[in-house]
Symmetry: C4
Subunit: 244 residues, 4 copies
């Protein structure tokens, strides 16, 4: 760990009266996501990148009870890009015993480096998981069109918003035993589907990113809405693409 | 913009300690609507007309985080009735950078001018959208009868309340790529169905109005209840009209 | 109106710092019931009888926004038992313009007089309504057995609690155009089914009562749970009675 | 009752400004569980064991309205292990009239003695009950695999966390007329299935435990998520085990 900040400097990175400070936002948004059923049982979370700082929640804790002092801060410019099992540089590690940084760290970094995202959200939403379960085992992606909520989603998650008549396509990748091991297949899917605003993970959940935390959050809401209505449509045997 | 008010006069239009001031109400109601799943991902909203003033939320923002200072105020008497792409007169434009008035503006005006409504609510409720999806592609309207909740709905949205034995009918119009472009088809449907208290938009949501914000809200709740139970009834193959 | 109390005496009937005062409880419980989807769109409510006083919410208002000063107080001993259209004696009528007492008044009185109940709750819960819709048109009652939640329900709503092996039976009566007109058929069903803890109203909702507001509320929760799971069981073609 | 503490010493057992004091936690968590639909109508609850003290909620009360002063405190070392109808030793009995300790007491003790658990949660979640109803009458257990949320569950509830590729198995026992009478069959199931992190009770609910209240709660959330998605999968005719 290359941390050379004093204790006071480290605390100043996460303690702020500004409700829009990333450490406050992560705590507040995780409480909201819990109410939506996105982060129950310690799963899921959000990372925010602000300039050269990346803010991360701890791994394996109750997400709705996170406090700003539990937040990790990392320099965006790492000695080496986070990979499964790699060593990471930190600016701040919470003093509370036993906390480790989110296991999603290298997956969040995929969004930061490949899409220049400012925030990345990971949920275990049942709508996302049921959607992957209702797709054939060998389906490579989920597609939907002719839904107003598609208009809230940006091309590649960070470009122009989609039109009502566009078909939204989101790749589905297989789950792995260890969360970090999704890093490469997520990156490969992001390369193969440059317009996709998210990655679905079969039997697991979804990763969504955006230019800012606001865009990452509103896109997560639009996509979760689309996953939910797509599940209902599939169960009612309605086609997801086209305007029949 | 024909705005001739001073900055202080403009602020006085939206800053009030009265919780029933339209700028406070819009902020509070949008938070409530978010919890109901009506305005996730920046979609949906509410406009209130009070005498000669119309209060509008901004376009494309998180509706549950709107503050009174984000509210637009327009004179109800416009140089020309708002149409898609038309220029609008404002009494107050929020100073926060990048805010534009709701894209639903000309649709809200339909309710204000054609029904003399005091408020109009737009939701992306999944119950409304699923209901349109479960109707045949060429269905012109949704009909339901023999439900207690019908009694909470007014004829044309602003007249006498319906009876338990009345059949409620709500037209369904097609969605368009740009929200404002719904203006004409919504107006045409309101003319063709003068008793309808709302307009359903296929694959999009619903517009509901009332004499006051209270009536617009309670009617939105009654209608959303009816949309939800109608979806359940259709999936269970129960007829929507009649008392079998 | 036989009211002979001074204005101060009338206000003292509903203004209290005790959170368990009926006027405070009705306001608080209606907010809770709103969150449960029981009283959306002005429907439903609760009446509490405390000794010789009956506390009632107004008719046709947003139930989640009721304040103690909106509450009606009636003497339990009325000149004549409330019937549809009958004149009622009041101890307090709210000063806010346009408020009238709940249209459920004579139905609540059924519970107070026929079961000596201390509180009666009316909901428009969709679980109750869907349950009546999934029953044959000529079904006289709903029956369920072998559910733990049956144990939270009392015989006749006010007697001993049911056992896991008892069959719970709740009569279903037809809806009427005017809520008050349910008075006689509800009373007839209560006579025919003396052990029933509630009355289901087809395409409308349910009336539940108890010795106290706590018992009326917990029994409403147990019954709503049973209505919900019964709907799921019927849709999954599982029998409601027996332990197969 | 072997209680030899003074009134002040008894009160000191439950009155604390520390939000993580068991008496405060039980009150707060029951409010949260109510929102999740786990403890409606007085059903369900949580017991926390901290060192030599066991904290219990009262029986048959509204769980979302419990206050710290309603909490029972028992010595973990009892004269005799709690059995149905057995006499229990108390350190503190709430002074509020009519309160008796939770009927789940001997069931909680199963978790404390057989698994050395630090907390045990009982819910009436409809997902748990529907899951038992969708299993054949003679099914001995519920099994599921290939779900990310399995990774939040520990072997036997208190050991190492399960892997994505492990099959989670939870025994299903029959319900009894009196809650305490589940004690023996629950213990027998815990012996037969030493790796099971919970016990499902047919037509009733579930018991979940963990080393700490945090683990009991997050495991309850993971399991409830799995029960819910398993119900959806069974209704959609998807296999629960395997990765098809």
């Amino acid at each position: 760990m290359s941390n050379k900040l004093t204790h006071e400097e480290q605390e100043a990175l996460v303690i702020s009266e500004d409700p829009e400070h990333p450490a406050n936002l992560i705590s507040e948004l995780c409480r909201e996501f819990y109410k939506l059923g996105w982060v129950t049982g310690t799963g899921g979370g959000i990372s925010i990148r602000q300039g050269e700082h990346v803010y991360l929640a701890p791994s394996g804790v109750q997400k709705e009870r996170i406090k700003p002092e539990h937040i990790f801060v990392l320099p965006f410019a790492q000695s080496s890009v986070p990979r499964p099992g790699s060593k990471r540089d930190f600016l701040r590690i919470p003093s509370k015993k036993g906390l480790t940084e989110s296991q999603c760290t290298p997956l969040f970094w995929n969004a930061f480096t490949m899409r220049e995202a400012g925030a990345c959200i990971h949920t275990h939403s049942q709508h996302a998981v049921m959607l992957t379960l209702l797709h054939p085992r060998d389906a490579q992606s989920f597609k939907i069109s002719h839904q107003e909520m598609i208009k809230g989603v940006r091309i590649g998650g960070v470009g122009k918003t989609l039109s009502f008549f566009n078909t939204l396509e989101i790749p589905i990748i297989d789950n792995t035993a260890v969360e970090e091991d999704l890093t490469e297949s997520m990156a490969a899917a992001m390369e193969k589907y440059p317009d996709a605003p998210a990655i679905l993970v079969r039997r697991h959940g979804v990763y969504v990113w955006g230019n800012t935390w606001e865009q990452a959050k509103t896109q997560s809401e639009c996509l979760d809405y689309l996953f939910e209505i797509a599940v209902k449509m599939l169960l009612a045997k309605l086609p997801l693409v086209g305007d029949n």
